[in-house]
């Protein structure tokens, strides 16, 4: 693998939070790389540090130590406005990813104006284009987030992130609050966006089966540390670490019978 080609390099990332004087390490020694057009999965349960890791990359948090190199630039500790044209993030709570008092289309317009620098009539045109790109009808832009389903909100949130044509999309448990068919729709959308736009995606989830289906490579995180990495199929069929095996066995499969 030609190292210079990685679109995202994270090296020795540490993030410590101080809560009531007690220091807690949310992320320890996070190190990995993301290639352009690759979908990397991060699996872990709550408290594993996966969200914090993503927030550091999106510059929503300032890392305590470590380097983050995005498309050749060092971005650790910068502000979101410095990086938002290259890296974007989608959150778990889709409905609350939009200002409840603004129509979703207006929020996308804001992103289009600020990230793509468009103005006037071309803003609306680009907004409709983005909404169609995520498989929805542009009329949904006239609704408020509270009037849409979780799946629809999430798709519109993804549409908004595409306004600036980012190279990396960070997805933080974007399917966890959705039901099973909406989850599959979003997974399919992300795979299509990778195909059509060459987006590199980091897909964080606690659902190992879904991650295995969507991602090329998987990282397993526990207690702030990366405990195992490998190709998706390898992790699903022959995991090495105990924790990964535990996660695998916790997957509730329809194939399992009803146990007496």
């Amino acid at each position: 693998m030609n190292e210079a080609k990685a679109i995202l390099k994270v090296r020795g990332l540490y993030k410590t939070f101080k809560r009531k004087g007690v220091a807690a390490e949310a992320v320890s020694d996070g190190t990995f790389e993301l290639m352009p057009g690759e979908i990397l999965g991060i699996v872990g349960e709550s408290g594993s540090g996966k969200s914090t890791l993503l927030r550091c990359i999106a510059c929503l948090e300032r890392p305590t130590a470590g380097e983050i190199e995005l498309d050749g630039r060092n971005i650790a500790g910068k502000r979101p406005s410095n990086v938002c044209r290259t890296v974007q993030m989608v959150f778990q709570d889709a409905a609350n990813s939009f200002n409840p008092r603004m129509k979703t289309g207006a929020a996308i317009d804001e992103a289009v104006r600020q990230l793509a620098g468009l103005s006037g009539g071309s803003v609306r045109k680009r907004r409709d284009e983005l909404i169609r790109m995520v498989g929805l009808d542009p009329s949904l832009g006239e609704r408020y987030p509270g009037e849409l389903s979780g799946g629809q909100c999430q798709r519109l949130a993804i549409a908004r992130t595409l306004a600036g044509e980012p190279k990396v999309l960070l997805c933080d448990e974007v399917t966890s609050a959705l039901d099973v068919s909406a989850q599959a729709q979003i997974a399919g959308l992300l795979a299509a966006l990778r195909r059509e736009l060459g987006l590199a995606i980091v897909f964080v989830s606690h659902d190992l089966a879904l991650v295995g289906g969507v991602c090329d490579r998987i990282l397993v995180m526990r207690g702030g540390k990366i405990v195992e990495t490998g190709a998706a199929m390898e992790m699903l069929t022959a995991p090495r670490e105990e924790y990964t095996k535990l996660l695998l066995s916790s997957v509730l499969s329809v194939e399992d019978g009803y146990e007496e």
Binding site: L60, D93, F98, L148
Partner: protein, 280 residues
């Protein structure tokens, strides 16, 4: 995705309209007072002192022969506008400070919150009396005295609302959409914290009105002969048994006004509660 229950929401909305219209009528009455007053409120008349309500003086006259109705109407102007002013100024000042404290935290937050704690350590009216006493009796000084503690309510509310709102994903999403801090605060934070602040503002109008009236009642507010409900009650205290209408009229007017604004605040809060419930 249903928000609230339509029937309950409709009932609450109706109530909000009713009280909003009543409040607007009150303000309109206050604005039109000079036109509506049957007699000159300041004109004294030794022939008509302490006269019971009659055709010429619909609410009677006070000890100096002045028309009570006219004074009540002009007093409405003083009371309502002064309290609206104080509330508006406290609202603006307190909200801005509270938002900045909540957003930036740090030294500013510590400083302002300690100042709030100190101000709130004194009972509001006692502090107001002290301030008005020091500054001297006048309507403006009474307003300042009430306003000194009035802003703290909004500062605290705004600050805690901002602290909660800061963690919402849409704030992070807007940062990633390229929003700078000023735009974030004006377009995304303020509109989402207005609700509880407005409710408190509506209720505070009544509190301010009673406070200013109280200061005037004690003689450190409005200077006579300006018509103001509190000072009217004070002046008429001595002969309440001889001419009860001189006390009942301003007292009743204040009661009705404060009630209307309080109910307005309550129904706006109910409206927000009902629309805040969204069940699957």
């Amino acid at each position: 995705m249903m928000k609230g229950r339509p029937a309950a929401r409709a009932a609450v909305k109706r109530r909000v309209w009713v009280f909003l219209i009543l409040a607007i009528l009150l303000v309109a009455l206050a604005v039109a007072a000079p036109a509506l007053a049957p007699n000159d409120p300041n004109r004294t008349n030794s022939d008509f002192m302490k006269i019971a309500p009659c055709a010429q003086f619909p609410l009677g006259t006070d000890k100096l022969g002045r028309c009570v109705l006219s004074r009540v109407l002009m007093g409405a102007r003083t009371s309502i506008f002064s309290s609206l002013c104080v509330v508006a100024a406290s609202f603006a000042f307190g909200t801005v400070l509270g938002v900045l404290c909540g957003w930036y935290g740090g030294a500013l937050d510590e400083l302002v919150m300690r100042a709030v704690d100190i101000l709130l350590a004194f009972p509001q009216m006692v502090l107001a009396i002290a301030v008005a006493g020091v500054l001297g009796g006048s309507l403006l000084n009474a307003m300042i005295a009430m306003g000194i503690t009035g802003w703290t309510l909004y500062a605290r509310l705004a600050r805690s609302a901002v602290l909660t709102l800061k963690n919402e994903p849409f704030i992070a999403a807007e940062k990633l959409s390229g929003c700078g801090t000023p735009r974030l605060l004006c377009r995304h934070v303020l509109p989402n914290i207005f609700g509880p602040l407005l409710v408190n503002a509506a209720t505070q109008i009544g509190t301010m009105m009673i406070g200013i009236a109280g200061l005037s009642f004690l003689g450190i507010g409005v200077t006579p002969p300006q018509a103001e409900w509190g000072s009217m009650i004070n002046e008429a205290r001595a002969y309440i048994q001889l001419a009860p209408w001189t006390v009942l009229a301003p007292g009743g007017a204040m009661l009705i006004t404060v009630m209307i604004f309080n109910y307005l605040g309550d129904s706006v809060r109910d409206l927000m509660d009902v629309s805040g419930q969204s069940h699957e």
